[in-house]
């Protein structure tokens, strides 16, 4: 009998809940029982509440058990889990779980399924088809596909990816770069991380497609020091591809003149902003550049540079493999395709939910997410990271779409949805937004550098009940200045969480005055 394949995720969210201990316990128990097994460390299926989610390859498909702790392992063996035996933790086939059945997984098609470090497994699950097709149809047609797909930058800004690529393709230069922005600093987001840990090769392929289309020969992935596991995994994936003769030596496909280097940031949130990221890659302080010139004209080391988010580049692989129209058929309005949405914070069923644009916020939070994990009522949801607006349940009919959120003074950003229950103090959240901006400001422009500190101070006065009306008016005025006068989205968007808190949760700002002066 051949070894039984057992999948134990080493996505960092699973590790944070003891997946390594579970893997060791399974190996030890199998050894004790003299059963031959092979443990595969896959990515996560994205159902955080079931992690560590262990899967067993049986004659009738993969059967999942979760959440498994090391203490459950002996009992699972006793219950015959190697043959998919019954046990209270058994969830059946993961792909038939309602949370996954409701999704449309394009960008995340392989995450949680494949062995992330196996080129063979990647190819067996449809990998490299995008790059192959790009090479067949040529650079111009590849650019056309990306443009026609309607793909917009998944990092948050939503800028059409096709325009960016075309601009770099048209630029004349001796050297061009593809830079992947993997500096996923927004709280509530982890999709980039899950790709790097669960299907790193799709990102490598996407970058190779981009390089081919625009004529670049060198790629950088700029990741975060807060993601040590993702970085180690991605480095191993690069090594695995190189070992097959790909990337810069022979063929990850026949495209051989492209190489990728992984670089790690150093804890500066602002380096997620594309021009600050380029400065940081050049070895400088991560200070935002004024635009123009655009990075597409003068980017890394002054050369034409495509700078795209992990998800945008990974999705390019799917688009080339399946065709622009197949991608554009999903979505609503000007938001085409799917969005890997991250359900986070105080939510019962948190994790990765990829779906076509257009799903409503309420559906995401209540139907799919199951409400709060504390069981209290939902009071606020912050969408789009620390620079995103706080929405009350009254706005739960908002469809997940760039324009629909903008119309309600919000943003979808990188697709993070952070749920808060009714114990949240929205004044405290507004203050945190200002404080965070002050901590992370690069210091180049005054509205952001000074405004954030004054904003936090003024909110402190409101908290003490000092001249609340005048101080609230001052905060609103300050937000206007930051919004209009900041160089980048850090100062420019910090007003979103602050103003939305003020607008939708005014009661939290009505504090009792500390003393009646004079």
């Amino acid at each position: 009998m051949s070894a039984v394949k057992i999948f134990v995720p080493d996505d960092v969210a699973a590790l944070a809940l003891g997946a390594d201990k579970v893997a060791r316990a399974i190996a030890a128990e199998a050894d004790k029982r003299g059963v031959e097994i092979q443990i595969v460390r896959n990515g996560s299926r994205g159902m955080a509440w079931l992690e560590p989610l262990v899967e067993v390859q049986t004659a009738f498909g993969r059967i999942g058990y979760g959440p498994v702790s090391a203490a459950d392992v002996a009992v699972l063996f006793e219950a015959g889990f190697l043959d998919g035996g019954a046990h209270p933790l058994r969830i059946g086939k993961p792909e038939e779980h309602p949370f996954l059945l409701r999704q449309t997984r394009l960008t995340f098609a392989r995450v949680g399924i494949v062995d992330p470090l196996s080129v063979e497994d990647y190819v067996a699950h449809g990998g490299l088809l995008g790059l192959k097709r790009a090479l067949e149809i040529g650079a111009a047609a590849t650019l056309e596909e990306i443009t026609k797909s309607g793909l917009r930058g998944r990092g948050g800004a939503g800028f059409p990816t096709g325009i960016k690529w075309n601009t770099v393709a048209d630029a004349k230069a001796d050297q061009k770069y593809v830079v992947c922005n993997a500096d996923e600093g927004d709280s509530g987001t982890f999709a980039d991380r899950m790709i790097m840990e669960g299907d790193p090769m799709v990102l490598i392929e996407g970058m190779a497609i981009c390089a081919f289309a625009v004529g670049a020969t060198k790629g950088f992935v700029y990741s975060r020091s807060e993601y040590p596991h993702a970085n180690a995994k991605f480095e191993k994936a690069l090594a695995a591809v190189r070992a097959k003769g790909g990337l810069g030596q022979g063929a990850f496909g026949p495209y051989s003149f492209f190489d990728i280097e992984l670089r790690i940031g150093a804890g500066a949130y602002v380096c997620g902003e594309e021009t600050a990221l380029l400065e940081s890659l050049e070895g400088k302080r991560g200070v935002v550049r004024a635009k123009p010139p655009l990075p597409a004209h003068k980017g890394l080391f002054g050369k034409p540079t495509v700078i795209n988010n992990v998800l945008s580049l990974a999705t390019a692989s799917w688009i080339l493999a399946n065709g622009a129209q197949a991608y554009a058929d999903f979505g609503m309005g000007r938001s085409r395709g799917t969005m890997p949405i991250q359900l986070a914070g105080n939510i019962k069923y948190g994790g990765l939910f990829e779906t076509a644009f257009g799903v409503s916020l309420g559906e995401l939070v209540n139907d799919i997410g199951g409400g709060t994990s504390t069981g209290r009522s939902v009071r606020a949801v912050q969408v789009g990271g620390p620079l995103g607006a706080y929405f009350p349940p009254a706005l739960f009919d908002t469809p997940f779409d760039y324009e629909a959120f903008a119309a309600r003074d919000g943003l979808i950003g990188h697709g993070g949805v952070v749920v808060f229950d009714d114990s949240v103090d929205m004044l405290e959240q507004a203050r945190f937004a200002m404080e965070f901006c002050a901590v992370e400001s690069c210091g180049k422009c005054t509205p952001c550098r000074i405004g954030s500190t004054r904003g936090a101070e003024t909110i402190d006065k409101i908290a003490l009940g000092e001249r609340p009306e005048a101080n609230i008016a001052l905060v609103e005025d300050l937000c206007k200045t930051m919004k209009m006068g900041s160089l980048c989205a850090l100062g420019g968007f910090t007003p979103y969480p602050v103003l939305s808190a003020l607008k939708h949760f005014p009661d939290d700002f009505a504090r009792v005055p500390r003393v009646a002066a004079e």
Binding site: G185, T189, R193, E282, G283, K284, G345, G351, Q382
Partner: protein, 158 residues
């Protein structure tokens, strides 16, 4: 996993710098490698880096001080990075962080008097669906309420 660090050694620092100096934009890779080896970026390393990269001491000083990650002083024997961002806040992260700081008798970024532990703030570890979260000497911990966080820190120390 306790991180092994060595005391300041100029020859070792020069080796590290030489190994990375050929990279485009080498400053961050060098600073990371220096910190990994010594636990922090010693002042003595700065002129060496400036020299190797042909930039001024002011330039490299500016880079080191810009990034939150780079420490100017040796950390404690253990380094705990606790997330302070919104997703963790929504799950009581403020409370568990306060409890850990209290138990260790330190404030953010400080090292305990006995040199046992340094507690640093981070803004998001990507563990937002298993919040609150921390990295204890690089090992992730999810659903880190006060009791679980303090226990995990204590367990690793023993």
């Amino acid at each position: 996993m306790t991180i092994q660090r060595i005391k300041w050694d100029e020859a070792a620092a020069r080796d590290i710098i030489a190994a990375h100096a050929h990279l485009d934009g080498a400053a961050l890779p060098i600073l990371h490698a220096i910190q990994e080896t010594f636990g922090y970026v010693p002042d003595d390393a700065l002129p060496l880096i400036a020299d190797a990269l042909n930039i001024s001491r002011a330039d490299i000083y500016g880079v080191v001080t810009f990034y939150h990650d780079f420490r100017r002083e040796p950390p404690g024997r253990r380094v705990v990075k606790v997330c302070r961002a919104e997703a963790c806040q929504s799950m009581g992260g403020r409370e568990s962080a306060a409890a850990l700081l209290g138990a260790c008798g330190v404030d953010w970024g400080e090292t305990s008097a006995d040199g046992a532990i340094t507690i640093e703030a981070v803004y998001c570890l990507g563990l937002c669906a298993v919040a609150p979260a921390a990295l204890i000497d690089g090992e992730p911990l999810g659903r880190a309420d006060a009791a679980r966080l303090i226990a995990a820190v204590a367990e690793g120390a023993s």
